[in-house]
Symmetry: C2
Subunit: 191 residues, 2 copies
Amino acid sequence: MSHFAPVELRHASRLINHGPTVLVTSSDGGRANVMAAAWSMPVEFTPPRIAVVIDKHTYTRELVMRSGHFGLCLPGARLVDLTHAVGSETGRSIDKFARHGLRSRPGPNSGVPLLEDGCAAWLECRLLPEPHTQDAYDTCFAEVLAAAADARIFSAGHWTLRPDNAELHTIHHLGGGNFVTPSGVVQAVPV
Amino acid sequence: MSHFAPVELRHASRLINHGPTVLVTSSDGGRANVMAAAWSMPVEFTPPRIAVVIDKHTYTRELVMRSGHFGLCLPGARLVDLTHAVGSETGRSIDKFARHGLRSRPGPNSGVPLLEDGCAAWLECRLLPEPHTQDAYDTCFAEVLAAAADARIFSAGHWTLRPDNAELHTIHHLGGGNFVTPSGVVQAVPV
């Protein structure tokens, strides 16, 4: 049973505001792929827009350029090994969904494959073509068409990080296959 | 006494790879400013390049456009309240350095003010002018000219997060003034 529920678009930026590593999903012409990306960020609240670095030599980049869509899925802590694996393989020669037994659901607007099992959230994105920045910086801008999150960890626009939902905590790549998870929520007070 | 030591440029991306909130420092013509930014990311390892969202209505954006340089300073957990404060004030009407008693040192290449007290690291950046993406997405690309980190938490290209250096742990903004810090390093294993 899926615990995913829609996230209002005005709250979409909060899903990646704290810098989690994401899985970029894509598909075109019957082929699908998934790769890991540590480099993404929101760039606008309304309309919800994001930027993500997708190397021009990757198969994902090829599929995204052809289809014009991609998904950003936030792996939970249970998926650390999977995340590192799909960041090290190329989808040109293998079907990563089959290899890792990944189930996906089609994005409501684009049909792009989205992951829910073990993930905290996803964002369905439409590429905003920017040939220069795609070429010079491998940076792809996109508009968020829809978003959803596991209601056990994100609801009403807020993350709730507790020991009992630790498997769904986002993961953040320090480099070299080392990941950290967020903890210890602190509320800033006026100074 | 400062514990800061230079970070090799090939390791600069690791300072922000895991998505910390940063303080953007800037100066021009005798005026200096500092603001908080949750939206930044590396975009290239070599040469080291980053992207950061700086709203076009901010005083920081004005100073950065004039001087062509800025700093990204990583506040440690002790600076949560300061970070939230400088993200809510405008430097047009107040001198935030004076108001908050912030000491800075000049960047070795540009003279841009850089914060070390209570910070984990800094990156001295040179704007790569991209008028279209600056205008359309408030996204500023830059090359990292120099970087340094507090050796008690980052050295030889690696973060070391321990209870005894908790005050220097990076902070990650969930939204609404709520910050988390990273913990529980997990090393991915091949699947």
